[in-house]
């Protein structure tokens, strides 16, 4: 066991580790630049485009893709899909790390990051949806930490604390779903304040609903996608329960994702119909909208369905990748690509290479942290002392 645990550390010179260390070094250098020279020194942000990829990707996409935590834990604990139990911990860990690094990335983007708690200390800006997002993310990060704590406490051998934390599971799960519903939808609602800047095909009063529903898709797809990667990279850490249920979980989540995607596809059209924007579909932005609708929503829905019916796990895996890409495309569309669409292209935003490096840096840190923790704590396996404790 001991030998197995340490195995990944033995070969430090793997291609992944080498690329990761280059990214980390570059990330640290740009971090120093950012915090000593200011936003202007490293970003392409402008007065017209105050939000770049640190918001559009790191925050918007990051929060959506970290939805696996609440989706899996509610499926298992609230909706009675107990056979998914083994998938809860990896999903919670991903969620926790996802949110943690969303906050870290936010510190890069804020003009005065040390004032992050000001909304709660200085002025309760409750008329702002961003206040709601900040409030919910702060609380949800705490919830995720508590939901994750049994794994850490088992690792540390603190039985009493672990059992106490474990008893909170249902309460935390319910609280987590409430908070996720609120801030996932509010991220979409942020843009309701800017009807004149977001392209009408994406601007709709339904934005918060779209963001919430698509976060479910993101959560389900990320669990499937991650599962397939972890299955290869962390196989040695996986317990019998996880491995036995992996295929069942993939099928169950794929089925759910297919249906939610179908529902999402439908309500997206409702938005177009309600605003009467059919004629815009023939414009360039309209074509891009159709690409999102058919390429990133309808296609993965169909692929998931086919994969489930034919029990083809390869097809399901492809569907999960497309669905995740679809979420990324959608969040970038709303926050960057179709935002400020009225401006001439010379005044539009495109990220600087340093902004991109920081975003890649954040993703790398998440992967490294995940690997570090999953290699030590009982994430994919049940701790031997608590086998019958479910």
């Amino acid at each position: 066991m001991e030998e197995q645990t340490m195995a990944p550390e033995k070969g430090l010179m793997t291609p992944f580790n080498m690329i990761a260390s280059v990214i980390v070094v570059a990330g640290i250098i740009i971090t120093i630049l950012r915090f000593t020279k200011g936003l202007g020194a490293v970003t392409n942000l402008s007065d017209n485009s105050p939000w770049g990829i640190w918001i559009g990707f790191d925050l918007m996409v990051g929060v959506a893709l970290a939805a696996g935590g609440y989706v899996t834990s509610s499926a298992c604990y609230l909706f009675g899909m107990k056979r998914y139990h083994a998938a809860v911990r990896p999903a919670i860990l991903t969620g926790f790390l996802g949110y943690f690094f969303v906050v870290i990335a936010l510190l890069y983007d804020l003009g005065r990051p040390w004032r992050l708690p000001y909304p709660f200390l200085m002025g309760w800006g409750t008329t702002s949806l961003l206040f709601e997002v900040a409030f919910c993310v702060a609380l949800y990060l705490t919830v995720l930490f508590l939901e994750f704590s049994p794994a850490a406490l088992e690792w540390l051998g603190l039985k009493k604390a672990r059992n106490l934390a474990y008893k909170l599971t249902i309460l935390l799960t319910i609280f987590g779903v409430v908070l996720s519903t609120l801030h996932q939808s509010s991220l979409g609602a942020l843009f309701l304040a800017a009807p004149s800047k977001l392209h009408p095909l994406w601007y709709t009063p339904y934005l918060p609903v779209y963001f919430f529903v698509s976060s479910v898709i993101a959560g389900l797809s990320m669990v499937i996608f991650e599962g397939s990667i972890s299955h290869k990279a962390l196989h040695h850490r996986m317990g019998k329960e996880y491995l036995d249920n992996h295929d069942g979980l993939t099928l169950g989540f794929a089925k759910a994702a297919s249906m939610v995607l179908a529902g999402y596809f439908t309500i997206k059209w409702v938005g177009v119909a309600a605003a009467g924007h059919w004629s815009l579909l023939t414009t360039n932005y309209g074509l891009w909208f159709l690409v999102e609708m058919f390429g990133f929503i309808a296609l993965p829905s169909v692929l998931y369905a086919v994969g489930v019916r034919e029990k083809k796990y390869g097809v399901i895996k492809i569907a999960s990748v497309i669905a995740v890409l679809g979420i990324i495309v959608n969040r970038l569309n709303v926050s960057l690509i179709c935002f400020n669409w009225h401006l001439p292209s010379s005044e539009r935003y495109f990220p600087s290479w340093m902004e991109i490096v920081i975003s890649v840096f954040m993703v790398t840190l998440i992967v490294l942290a995940f690997r570090f923790i999953a290699n030590r704590m009982p994430i994919f396996d049940t701790h031997p002392d608590y086998r019958d404790n479910h």
Partner: protein, 371 residues
């Protein structure tokens, strides 16, 4: 005035939409905020502007802003369309509408009646003062720049070059000068009376009067009367407003109303989601319990059936065994008898040696009893 404190989660409930404390405006109350009655504003008559940039110069000077690279007398800067920036709170742009003489239009913060920047700020760093100006407080600003995202007029600018003390920058309608009884810098400097300062209500009346007097000269629209719920700056023009770089597709909904619906759902989610989810959990639990009970019942029945079956089988087997035993006993008896008979016969035939043997055999059980 300040943003009304409508909170969510902890009891206060309701949608946070209002902007005017005292006269609370909210989608939840069904009342409408019509702006502060005596607030000031400026009327900009675009048809009168000659693009002299005196307003820019005055603005730069009264706000102690750094001198621009090109002097204010340099008209070549007008060749490019500009916007407000961190050290430029107002700019004049030149437009050349088809078949007409060049037109000039000034931009700066429009000081909305219900500002988007104030509505979206999560630390309430912006406030609309009853006198008209929308004021910014850099001491609490976190620098999220949501105000810049939300501003429909693309006015606020940010000090991206500052690492430690970046601020949002924009026109404050010369609020400090107004307090001293002075005019805003730009208004004071305008040589063509293209800018008129006064109470918004009166400016609106003046604007409408000008349109009424010169219906052929002016476009029949006072820009800012209704745009985004109304602004403290009002505009008149002799060419369509979109030809002088102004957004004519803005909604007349004030900014807070745009997000009121989404904010109003928050307390509903907080209130109802736990009920629904606990219900789901309860149903799941119940289903599991019923399933467990059914399973238990099924097991009991199965056990009973199996037991009965086993008992029956045991009985038949026992009966069979009994019969077999009997048969075997009988058979053994017969065999024994036959053997004895046979032995007797043989004994009778062999006589002497066999008599000794029989005596030994017969003694053995007796020996055992003695022990």
């Amino acid at each position: 005035m300040s943003l009304s404190r409508r909170s969510f989660l902890f009891g206060l409930g309701a949608a946070g939409t209002g902007l005017a404390a005292g006269k609370k405006a909210s989608a939840a109350t069904g009342k409408e905020f019509k702006g502060y009655p005596d607030s000031y504003g400026v009327l900009h008559d675009i048809s009168r502007c000659v693009g002299c940039r005196e307003c820019e110069k005055a603005c730069n000077s009264v706000n102690d802003l750094p001198a621009p690279e090109q002097p204010f007398t340099d008209k070549s800067v007008l060749d490019e369309k500009r916007r407000t920036a961190k050290d430029t709170f107002t700019v004049v742009n030149r437009f050349e509408p088809k078949g007409k003489k060049p037109h000039f239009a000034k931009i700066q913060c429009n000081h909305c009646q219900e500002p988007a920047c104030a509505s979206v700020c999560f630390v309430r760093a912006f406030k609309k003062s009853p006198e008209g100006p929308v004021l910014y407080n850099p001491d609490i600003c976190v620098g999220c720049r949501y105000c810049m995202v939300a501003c429909p007029f693309d006015v606020p600018a940010y000090e991206y070059d500052k690492a430690f003390t970046p601020r949002v920058r924009k026109c404050n309608l010369c609020a400090p000068r107004l307090a001293e009884g002075k005019l805003p810098g730009c208004v004071e400097a305008c040589p063509k009376e293209a800018l008129v300062f006064g109470k918004r209500e009166e400016l609106l009346a003046i604007a409408k009067e000008r349109i009424r007097k010169h219906p052929n000269r002016y476009v029949n629209h006072v820009y800012g009367e209704k745009e985004m719920g109304g602004t403290s700056w009002l505009y008149l023009s002799d060419v369509p407003f979109d030809e002088v770089g102004m957004r004519t597709d803005l909604v007349s909904t004030p900014a807070p109303a745009l997000t009121a619906g989404a904010l109003g759902v928050v307390p509903m989610v907080v209130g109802l989601w736990p009920v629904f989810l606990t219900g789901m959990y309860g149903m799941t639990k119940r289903r599991e319990k019923v399933a467990a009970q059914e399973q238990k019942a099924a097991v009991t029945v199965a056990v009973q059936e199996t037991e009965a079956k086993a008992a029956a089988e045991l009985e038949t087997r026992l009966a069979k065994a009994d019969a077999d035993k009997k048969k075997a006993l009988e058979k053994a008896e017969k065999e024994k008898e036959a053997a004895i008979a046979k032995a007797l016969e043989e004994a009778a035939a062999e006589k002497a040696p066999s008599e000794e043997d029989e005596a030994t055999t017969g003694d053995e059980p007796a020996n055992g009893e003695d022990k």
